[in-house]
């Protein structure tokens, strides 16, 4: 039977933050849901990063299959050039599409990698890199935007991408900007809820999904205000005010989740999931500096123009790629988000790179030397784990992935900026992604008061399909976790397998893999850089 199903995505949610908030009464509904339903850890894919992780949740496939590894994508395995990842690069079918083509109606709001929106039997408002000025054309069906615009309080500027606001999640706020920034995210989640409320009321679907990304944004910037372990650092009235605003955000989110559950009604299964976890990061590993010190990378003279800041904003994302001397660079990190190191191969850059014959020796040498990076004070290893492409990305799209993906000892992200020293402490702890996030479930088919241990993010898509009463394609890499389902329901409705659905190409995907790249443009163009941005993009390698 088809059970109405609601998926609530909480970007980066972690029990490290949620448990204390539930305990102190700031999130009473979530506490009730966690106690009465199923609670589990949710292990994400490598890397624990929003675009690949949500795409894995939405498709039930790992990055080597769905093809998303970062905010940016290499144009081809033989290219050093990057472009923004879009739905065109998602090579696996989404659970929205699976449900839709089997006759169910679907609403999917604010998930990344959904632009351009693919036609489904329902409604899509993509999240991620959609600027507010073009939200109209991003929505599906085409007349959806006019409906949304008529809603009281509708504000496209606050709903969709505003780069100047988004930068703060990476760059950091000035002290007097926290309040405005946090309250902005409180309003933003309400905007998404209003759209959801409208659609759930006027056009209820069998599958309704919404993602709230303020959790991730607040945790990046406000970790010390949220994590009780850092309570001693919150001393001044202004700091306590920031802490209270953060709690207000989560209190508001709790109210939104409660209202969504009320709209769904008692006959719906409700699933909550995060794309990855979160934790503190206290140091910065300047990986390109380390590579340069060990002869794997060479900077150009422009590298000396760097201000030495450990903080990298989106407007700087590509700037430093132009600072590599490609004739003498054999390995580099291109983006600060994926912790990935690319080994230069012949033909990718003007330089010779690493030959096929020497590749494995070079890679293994690099791995061994990275594992030997030590904290100069404690002597402890800095790199906790290194996944080779063959280990982490064994699939048809794996060639687009970095050759090496690092997990650092403090869970943080590498910096791609030059620095005097490869390892530097942060001025104050901030938030960084972790592999283990959250999964909560409640509803008529869900067990009560159950701790389900650890699930995989790849298990969420099969769970959604099962809840909807649909067969589960054998191509999905996760499993349907029977331990979260009531035994009597499991007996009456055993999971069905869709053996005929081997590894379908997404029917909605029109991308031509051999076609030239779409526009690759620096994400920000402020007044200062406007005059030179296009030239710079070319030099950076973001534009051929």
């Amino acid at each position: 039977m088809t059970r109405r199903t609601v998926l609530i995505g909480l970007d980066g949610a972690t029990y490290t933050i949620l448990d204390p908030l539930m305990a102190e009464g700031a999130m009473p509904f979530l506490r009730s849901l966690a106690q009465s339903g199923v609670r589990a850890d949710l292990r994400t894919i490598i890397p624990p990063l929003t675009p690949p992780a949500w795409t894995s949740l939405m498709t039930g496939r790992s990055p080597a299959h769905h093809g998303i590894f970062d905010f940016f994508q290499r144009e081809s395995p033989d290219s050093m050039y990057l472009r923004f990842a879009s739905s065109n690069e998602v090579a696996s079918e989404t659970v929205w599409s699976m449900a839709s083509r089997q006759g169910l109606r679907v609403t999917a709001l604010n998930f990344p990698l959904m632009f351009p929106a693919r036609p489904i039997n329902g409604f899509v408002v993509p999240g991620g890199w959609v600027p507010w000025k073009q939200l109209r054309v991003a929505c599906y069906p085409p007349d959806l935007y006019d409906r949304l615009k008529a809603l009281p309080g509708f504000n496209a500027r606050e709903l969709a991408m505003d780069m100047k606001v988004e930068e703060k999640a990476i760059e950091g706020c000035k002290d007097d900007e926290y309040e405005e920034w946090i309250t902005f995210h409180i309003r933003r989640e309400e905007h998404w809820f209003e759209i959801l409320r409208h659609l759930m009321s006027e056009d209820p679907c069998e599958l309704t999904a919404v993602m709230f990304d303020g959790v991730d944004k607040l945790q990046h910037l406000c970790w010390i205000y949220l994590d009780p372990a850092y309570a001693d650092l919150i001393r001044t009235p202004e700091q306590r005010r920031i802490r209270e605003l953060c709690v207000d955000y989560f209190r508001g989110l709790d109210g939104i989740i409660e209202r969504i559950a009320a709209l769904a009604g008692p006959d719906a299964n409700i699933l909550l999931a995060s794309d990855h976890g979160f934790g503190p990061t206290v140091e910065v590993f300047h990986v390109n500096t380390w590579l340069a010190q060990h002869g794997y990378l060479a900077w150009t003279e422009r590298a000396s123009e760097v201000d030495g800041s450990a903080v990298l904003g989106m407007q700087d994302l590509g700037r430093y790629a132009s600072r590599f001397d490609w004739m003498r660079t054999r390995a580099y990190a291109a983006t600060p988000s994926s912790n990935g190191i690319h080994i230069v191969r012949p033909g990718q850059t003007p330089g010779p790179g690493v030959s096929d014959a020497d590749y494995e020796r070079f890679r293994d040498e690099l791995v061994a030397r990275l594992y030997d990076v030590r904290d100069p004070v404690s002597g402890e290893p800095v790199v906790a784990h290194i996944a080779t492409r063959a280990e982490a990305f064994n699939g048809p799209r794996g060639e687009l992935a970095p050759d090496l993906t690092l997990a650092l000892r403090d869970g943080g992200l590498v910096s791609i900026l030059p620095s005097d020293e490869p390892l530097r402490p942060r001025e104050k702890p901030s938030g960084a992604h972790r592999p283990v996030g959250i999964f909560l479930a409640s509803g008529p088919d869900i067990r009560t008061a159950t701790h389900a241990g650890e699930l995989s993010i790849l298990d969420v898509a099969p769970t959604i399909l099962y809840s909807l009463g649909l067969p589960i394609p054998t191509s999905l890499e996760g499993r349907m976790p029977e331990e979260i389902i009531k035994p009597e329901h499991l007996q009456a409705e055993p999971p069905r397998v869709d053996a005929g659905n081997g590894d379908p190409a997404p029917p909605e995907n029109k991308a031509d893999e051999q076609a030239p790249a779409e526009a690759i443009v620096h994400p920000v163009m402020d007044a200062e850089t406007e005059a030179v941005i296009m030239n710079r993009l070319r030099a950076l390698g973001y534009v051929e």
Partner: protein, 109 residues
């Protein structure tokens, strides 16, 4: 190419494309509180207040509309080589027309 050896065809394509893209921008501009006319001479950055991400997304929408990937990256890098770092609607239409020249909208005459 547009405006050169296959001018007759290109004119047909360009008018269709001009109508399409002007229609797309005019539709979008209602949401921006932009009150001016959008013409072939309208500049995307200076007049419409675009940011670079807007160009990326507009390019993606155009490719979706015509079901064809286009080398926007090369196009934009060429812009970077000239004095005025902006893009008129007419230039955008001409670029799209060039890309569709081997697969014209509505078929060749």
């Amino acid at each position: 190419m547009v405006g050169t050896v296959r001018k007759g065809y290109a004119m047909v394509y360009s008018q269709q494309i001009m109508d399409d893209i002007l229609g797309m921008l005019s539709q979008l501009s209602k949401d921006w509180e932009y009150s001016g006319d959008i013409t072939p001479d309208t500049l995307l950055f200076e007049d419409l207040g675009f940011e670079s991400l807007d160009i990326v997304v507009l390019g993606t929408s155009i490719q979706e509309k015509y079901h064809k990937m286009m080398p926007f990256s090369e196009f934009l890098s060429d812009l970077g080589q000239r004095e005025v770092k902006d893009l008129s609607v007419g230039e955008l239409v001409e670029f799209v027309g060039e890309q569709l020249d081997d697969a014209p909208v509505g078929g060749k005459a």
